[in-house]
């Protein structure tokens, strides 16, 4: 089962995504972290998310770019958080794909690789598209890339939901 979970800042999307993984029968639970610890704010955010997962038996794997190279030891369940950071890393990090086209290929083939290696996959992505439409150059390139990835994964996913104040709204594949 492949679920795409989308939400804005502090929408409760991480917690909801974790609850989906905790309900999965597959073990072990892999957490693929895509946020590079650039500064104190990033490190604090990473520490917060690590605390949230501490008791939930997640094995954390850091992967900032080139997701398709990742090999999992066992066929468990996977939580990837988040697509917004992965897209930014692929575009802007020295180790990244560089162009939007190559970045999209890298992300989508990476997700395909993960799907082939796990029982359940939950991908967390970001709602960054409702705050305006006049973005210049790099920001606009980034938004296009993330939107392309979101739409491609939403087509592929079994379930797609947006989390609003911690409450999931399903656009596709609502649980019965």
């Amino acid at each position: 089962m492949f679920t795409l979970v989308i939400g804005g800042s502090a929408s409760g999307k991480s917690e909801f995504a974790e609850s989906l993984i905790l309900a999965s029968p597959y073990m072990p639970r892999y957490y693929i972290a895509t946020m590079e610890p650039f500064d104190g704010e990033c490190r604090a955010r990473i520490a917060k998310h690590r605390r949230m997962r501490a008791e939930k038996q997640f094995e954390t794997i850091e992967c900032y770019t080139s997701l398709s190279g990742l090999r999992l030891a066992d066929r468990g369940c996977v939580l990837l958080e988040c697509l917004g950071n992965l897209a930014a890393n692929e575009l802007y990090s020295p180790a990244g794909a560089g162009t939007a086209e190559r970045a999209l290929d890298s992300i989508l083939s990476g997700i395909d690789q993960l799907l082939a290696q796990c029982g359940d996959l939950v991908v967390v992505s970001n709602e960054t598209f409702t705050g305006g439409n006049r973005y210049a150059g790099e920001t606009d390139d980034y938004l296009h890339l993330l939107a392309d990835a979101n739409r491609a994964l939403a087509r592929q996913a079994d379930r797609v939901c947006e989390v609003i104040c911690g409450l999931p709204q399903f656009y596709k594949g609502a649980p019965v």
């Binding site: 804005g8 800042s9 502090a10 409760g12 705050g131 305006g132 920001t139 609003i164 409450l167």
Partner: protein
Amino acid sequence: MIFITGPLYSGKREYACKLLGCGEAELKGRAVWDVQDLAVQRGDLDILADELSQYEVVIATEVGGGVVPVDAGERARREAAGKLSCLLAQRAERVVRVFCGLPMVLKGS
């Protein structure tokens, strides 16, 4: 407590009036709005959420969408506001998102 959220100017207060069967003047005593702006000033959001839950209706504007701001203070405001909304939604017996004036029930009936 009923928690109403939604984008800016989406008709949240108008919906609250309809829900409570009252006008704007009476709404002041029964509901509280723009609570997203209270979040960043307060350290303990759990206590703030408890206090706000004493009102019949609590209204917050959604501010966590769109591009994440470059300014650290603006990011902190969005984070605090989003967390407060999650806490209010947990406490509410009903959560409604108003979008272009149209209510969508996210929790309860």
